[in-house]
């Protein structure tokens, strides 16, 4: 798909932001073609929220420039605000207001007239499956419902650029899948979306392209597939019935995998990176079965942000690096 002729909805160049001695952003560049979804992927503290805050005019960068929907964040913040919808890292829901009142409030502040604000709020409540709870105070909403209400708030003004900061962090698996479906619907309407996440899986499902940041710097960019390939594909994991079978399992996985297998003796678990996915899994099980090895558990794991990180930086996401 060629989007170059449709223009760029978000463009940031050389964003730098310091908090005292902490360099939160160290020259971040990013660009989102109109109508596309960019996943900003990084571990905790990478600088995702800081980037989001600069692009949504909540924070001024120390240096660098950014344009959103054709408006400069520094010289025309009001223009930016008219064009964006933000759903922050923590759901900005007014607990004492009902779901309807929360949206109506935002609609009125976008400048909609009363009747229009009422209509738009009801429409979004229905779309986000909150119509049953619409007239109850948000205090009683579940985490997932709050998140959806917050996201609905970001869409009230029909913004051309939607910014979602970790929309699924803290949700249970069901809440996460519901949120993904809602975001996919949003994308189908043609909005440009900036989405931050700590999960490669989420970026893979939702984003057209991914920018990986770490300690305020962009360390990789590309499509989700490119990133997954960069991290060496999928990981095949087996648990065998007894410790005596481990060396045999290691040998088999060593032949099938694309790298050295690693072993966890206590859990009787062996794993290895594979390029051929399910084929490799079937092949491994077939060979082990032929040797009468009891396989208690087997699975293929998609690479996580941790795996990408390991391959990009040589360390895990949780590891502190002395600066």
């Amino acid at each position: 798909m060629s989007d170059t002729d449709k223009g760029v909805a978000v463009r940031a160049r050389g964003l730098v932001k310091n908090y005292g001695m902490t360099r939160a952003l160290d020259g971040v560049d990013l660009e989102i073609p109109t109508g596309q979804v960019l996943g900003l992927l990084g571990p905790n503290g990478a600088g995702k929220t800081t980037t989001v805050r600069i692009l949504t005019t909540l924070l001024r960068p120390d240096s660098g420039e950014a344009e959103v929907a054709g408006h400069d964040v520094l010289t025309d913040p009001d223009g930016v605000r008219r064009s964006i919808g933000l759903s922050g890292q923590y759901a900005a829901v007014d607990e004492n207001l009902t779901g309807f009142e929360n949206l109506y409030l935002v609609a009125r502040l976008y400048g909609q007239r009363k009747a229009q604000a009422r209509r738009r709020s009801r429409e979004l409540l229905a779309r986000f499956r909150l119509d049953e709870a619409a007239d109850r105070p948000a205090k009683g909403y579940s985490g997932g419902m709050r998140r959806r209400l917050d996201l609905a708030g970001a869409l009230v003004g029909s913004p051309s650029v939607v910014v979602l900061d970790e929309p699924t962090t803290g949700l249970d698996p069901r809440g996460r899948i519901e949120m993904w479906e809602v975001i996919e619907q949003l994308v189908a309407t043609g909005a440009t979306v900036l989405l931050t996440t700590q999960y490669l899986e989420e970026a893979d499902r939702l984003a057209d392209s991914v920018v990986v940041i770490d300690r305020g710097k962009v360390i990789a960019e590309g499509t989700p597939d490119e990133l997954k390939n960069q991290s060496g594909g999928e990981r095949l994991e087996l648990v065998v019935g007894s410790a005596e079978e481990l060396p045999l399992a290691m040998r088999v996985l060593g032949e099938i995998g694309s790298g050295e297998p690693t072993v966890d003796g206590r859990a009787r678990r062996v794993d290895v990176l594979v390029d051929t996915g399910t084929k490799a899994l079937v092949e491994a099980l077939r060979r082990l079965d032929a040797q009468n090895v009891v396989v208690q558990d087997a699975g293929l794991h998609r690479p996580t942000l941790d795996d990408v990180f390991l391959s990009l930086t040589g360390r895990g996401t949780g590891e502190e690096v002395p600066s």
Binding site: R81, G88, A92, D94, E95, N96, L105, L109, Y110, G111
Partner: protein
């Protein structure tokens, strides 16, 4: 929409939101009605005998007391602004507002105005309670309305101080105390409950020049309520020009704290 109508419309919407917010809070009913009524009864009947003196106690003291209690209750409502802002900052709601194409000023005006909307409700409740214990408006209706407006104006000014406090406090917990603590010296070192002349030394000077004293004295006067017989009449420029002094102080407080709060709002970032 022109920018001025947008500011007004935004302020109205935010006021509505804040009033609904406080009203839905179960503590509101207690804070708005039970506490002030209890205060009226405590002062009137527990302290009243001693403060009013053997001859002048009872009914005369209750008449004196009402304007003071009204003003104090309404002043305390500025804490809704303090706690409200601290809450909105913590919950990320200020971030949401700051990302919207709305008037920044409206976020604060909507707070300080909401306090006064709530205050009107409380004043109605308190007036009924006052009437029940023998308080009467002895002047004209117009004067009485001006009396109510006087304390609302002063309370409005205090809400701007509250807005600034709410925007500088680091947490909701701190805001809970910070919103109330300055209210005690402000409202008690005054003529709200005792004759200001009865206060010792420097406290008397503070009470004399306390704008809250002026607001109370002006309202008392507009209600046509007088001090119990035998009490010294307050003297000095602030006492003799109570209404003027109260109005000037209110405007001065707003002139100082509105820009401070607005500037603070611009920089403030949610935690």
């Amino acid at each position: 929409m022109t920018s001025m109508t947008k500011v007004l419309s935004d302020s109205g919407v935010i006021t509505w939101r804040n009033v609904v917010n406080v009203r839905r809070n179960p503590e509101w009913l207690l804070g708005a009605t039970v506490f002030p009524i209890m205060f009226v009864l405590l002062f009137a009947y527990v302290f009243g005998g001693a403060i009013g003196g053997p001859g002048g106690g009872g009914l005369a003291y209750r008449e004196f007391l009402i304007a003071g209690i009204f003003a104090q209750t309404v002043a305390f409502n500025s804490s809704y602004t303090v706690i409200g802002f601290a809450n909105d900052l913590q919950k990320g709601i200020i971030d949401r507002f700051r990302s919207l194409p709305m008037s920044r000023f409206a976020v604060i005006v909507g707070r300080t105005t909401a306090d006064q909307v709530l205050s009107v409700v409380v004043l109605v409740v308190l007036s009924v309670c006052g009437l029940a214990i023998g308080w009467r408006i002895r002047g004209s209706v117009v004067d009485a309305v001006l009396g109510y407006l006087m304390i609302l104006l002063f309370a409005f000014a205090l809400s701007w101080v509250g807005a600034y406090i709410g925007l500088i406090t680091p947490s909701v917990e701190v805001a809970n105390s910070a919103g109330l603590i300055w209210m005690f010296p402000l409202t008690f070192i005054s003529s709200a409950f005792v004759p200001q002349e009865s206060l010792p030394g420097v406290l008397r000077t503070i009470a004399d020049w306390n704008p809250f004293t002026a607001a109370v004295n002006a309202t008392r006067d507009l209600f046509g309520n007088v001090s119990p017989p035998g009490w010294p009449e307050p003297s000095g420029w602030p006492a003799e020009n109570a209404a003027l002094y109260a109005i000037i102080s209110s405007i001065a407080i707003i002139a100082i704290f509105a820009p401070l709060a607005t500037a603070r709002y611009r920089r403030v970032a949610s935690k």
